[in-house]
């Protein structure tokens, strides 16, 4: 068990086409026993970061510490880490026992100890009956377990997992997700987990690191990340369906601040008041007065006004939009809306009777709205 620390870590790949900065000056602290998820779109540097911890990639600049040791120049085998690969990377010519025991054999563990550890791990993962099978005789889920088993028997300081669930079908993925979480609770080992799937990140991580173009955007626990995103990228990446963004202008009329969209056709308005208690938190709000800003609202914070109960719908907290597609999900309905030039998604209650072609009135939950700087894309509130 150990903490992992990134100190100003940079990774630059020298490609024939030029240099590519995969990780840019990253500072990160993975706590002891923590389950940390690295998430971001492809090419954001999450796998590269993981491979640098493993020692499979050199570090161009900065240092990585495992425990309290700088590991930059320590070979992978001496870092006391174990890694689970996306395609499992099981050795096809060895049986399950051989796969799990390989690392221990190379480290010259006594036979009894190897036997004990493999049996224990197999028991924990429910694969005791598969120990004499070859990988190609196993299903995807079973291979996944063997790959996990291979990591567990080593009893490493840190588990590294590179999209381990992405090759499984949807149902198995959900099942393995909970099993992995349970396993982590049981083993109490520091784990760094890479995924591009924000649902996996939200459900599994103690904390989540959102990466984009090699730069860390935000490190936080799942709910803080969801409710208080640092910028538009995090706001749009975390949550499904993604947050709605509208280009608006911040204006002040008779002492009240409003988000105003002036580009709309006649008959449609977007004029949402900002309540005082929100403004209290943003002392520099006047800097944005008269400027273009981005208004953000999550689909579930848009309410079909016909059904609104939690708050009153007024002219100051609602707008109208045209329904283009209705997707009933059973417990709720997704409305795909056209509002001026913008596409919006609203997640409304299942009893909404909005139909395609309707113009519906949507209420906005004051407490849930976000404002972003249009230039820097940073969150204002």
């Amino acid at each position: 068990m150990a903490k992992v620390e990134f100190n100003n870590v940079t990774k630059i790949f020298d490609n024939p086409e030029g240099e590519v900065v995969a990780v840019d000056n990253a500072n990160l602290h993975v706590r002891d026993k923590e389950f940390l998820v690295l998430v971001g779109p492809s090419g954001c540097g999450k796998t590269t970061s993981l491979r640098m911890i493993a020692g499979l990639e050199d570090i161009t600049d900065g240092t990585i510490e495992i425990g309290n040791t700088v590991v930059n120049d320590i070979p992978p085998k001496d870092r006391d880490i174990a890694m689970v690969f996306q395609n499992y990377a099981l050795y096809p010519h060895m049986d399950v026992f051989g796969n799990m025991a390989f690392g221990l054999k190379l480290r010259k563990f006594p036979k009894m100890e190897i036997e004990k550890r493999v049996q224990n791990a197999a028991e924990m993962l429910g694969i005791r009956n598969l120990l004499d099978r070859k990988p190609k005789q196993l299903s995807g889920g079973q291979r996944q377990r063997v790959a996990l088993g291979r990591a567990i028997v080593r009893e490493p300081k840190v588990f590294l997992m590179d999209e381990p669930l992405s090759n499984l079908d949807a149902k198995l993925r959900v099942q393995m997700r909970t099993e992995l979480s349970k396993l982590h609770d049981e083993l109490q080992t520091t784990a760094v987990y890479v995924t591009h799937d924000q649902t996996e990140a939200m459900t599994m991580g103690d904390r989540i690191v959102v990466l984009r173009d090699g730069v860390i955007q935000q490190v936080d626990d799942p709910l803080s990340l969801y409710n208080e995103p640092n910028n538009m990228f995090v706001a749009g990446f975390i949550g499904s369906p993604a947050m709605n963004f509208l280009d608006v202008r911040l204006v002040k009329e008779e002492g009240v601040y409003y988000f105003l969209d002036e580009s709309l056709e006649r008959g449609m308005t977007f004029r949402i008041a900002i309540p005082d208690r929100v403004l209290e938190m943003v002392p520099n709000i006047d800097e944005y007065l008269g400027e273009d800003v981005v208004f953000g609202i999550r689909p579930e914070d848009l309410v079909d006004s016909a059904l609104a109960q939690e708050f009153d719908i007024t002219e100051d907290n609602s707008f109208q939009a045209d329904v283009e597609v209705v997707e009933p999900m059973g417990s709720e309905i997704y409305l795909y809306l056209k509002f001026g030039e913008n596409d919006l998604i609203a997640r409304v209650e299942a009893d909404s009777d909005a139909k395609v072609g309707d113009r519906v009135k949507l209420g906005i939950d004051y407490n849930k709205m976000h404002m972003f700087d249009a230039v820097t894309e940073e969150s204002v509130f």
Binding site: A54, G55, L56, P76, K77, I81, A82, M83, F85, Q86, N87, A89, L90, Y91, P92, H93, F102, G103, L106, R107, K136, R150, R154
Partner: protein, 275 residues
């Protein structure tokens, strides 16, 4: 439906014709080897032997064929083992270890395929004499290995490139050294390609003639092809005897191929089909 049946019928016909074309010479040779010399000249060449007699085989063995057999076996197996080890190691380094000139090394190996064997005869003969290996079986192994390597490296690199790099990375993290990765992961995984390389070279060396002719002089060190050549001279008119020699020399290779044909085909088509 009918068209389908006709297609299948035509396919069978084609296979049958092919079998006759490929198999008949062998049957003819075997058939003739069982005849006496007199019988061969007096009866039709197509007829089966009057009685199955293996006198020719006994005589062939007496004439030293066993010796040729052992000589060929020694040279062939030594060369094949060396080629497999060297080519596998070279291919591993070329495909899996990054260094500046890996492509150049690969090209130099593969360029060897373009060198016609006859252009090397005189230099190889002189070198062999100089280093004192003329008229020794060991002297044959060197040129054989040199000529087997290009195609072997070519086949093995093609195969090893398809082994997912994660397999090797998993082994690195498991604590394997480069040499252990080679011996415990890459080499066993390359088995189909290694079989192909082994059988391919084995057939070639088993039937090798030119180097043996220029590098070996004493009959006690002849290989099978030299023995056969000599047979042809000695038994110029004894066709059944020559045919016996042909059968004896061909059988081991045929048996090996029958046993390992699956592996050879897998190695040849590796990378073409996804498993």
């Amino acid at each position: 439906m009918l068209l389908g049946k006709i297609t299948i019928f035509l396919k069978y016909i084609f296979c049958l014709v092919w079998l006759v074309i490929a198999g008949y010479p062998f049957i003819f040779v075997f058939n003739t080897s069982l005849k006496e010399r007199r019988e061969f000249f007096t009866t039709s060449v197509w007829s089966s032997p009057e009685s199955w007699q293996f006198q020719n085989y006994i005589e062939a063995v007496k004439a030293g064929f066993l010796r040729y057999f052992l000589n060929t076996g020694f040279v062939t197996f030594s060369a094949v083992i060396l080629i497999v080890i060297i080519a596998a190691m070279a291919s591993y380094v070329i495909t899996r270890i990054e260094f500046k000139y890996s492509n150049l090394v690969f090209l130099i190996f593969v360029a060897g395929m373009m060198i016609p064997i006859h252009s090397t005869l005189i230099p190889v003969y002189r070198v062999t004499r100089t280093i004192g290996l003329y008229n020794t079986l060991t002297g044959l192994i060197g040129p054989y290995v040199a000529f087997g390597l290009p195609i072997s490296v070519f086949i093995l690199t093609g195969f090893m490139r398809d082994i997912p790099p994660q397999m090797e990375e998993a082994a690195i993290i498991d604590g394997a050294s480069k040499f252990q990765i080679f011996t415990k992961i890459i080499f066993p995984l390359s088995r189909p390609a290694i079989f192909t390389v082994a059988i391919y070279n084995l057939v070639i060396f088993w039937n090798e003639f030119v180097y043996a002719l220029i590098l070996i002089s004493s009959p006690g060190k002849w290989n099978i092809t030299l023995g056969l050549w000599n047979f042809q001279g000695r038994y110029g008119t004894n066709i059944p005897m020559v045919m016996t020699g042909v059968i004896i020399s061909a059988v081991p290779v045929i048996i090996l191929y029958l046993f390992f044909q699956d592996q050879v085909i897998r190695g040849m088509t590796a990378g073409a089909l996804k498993e």
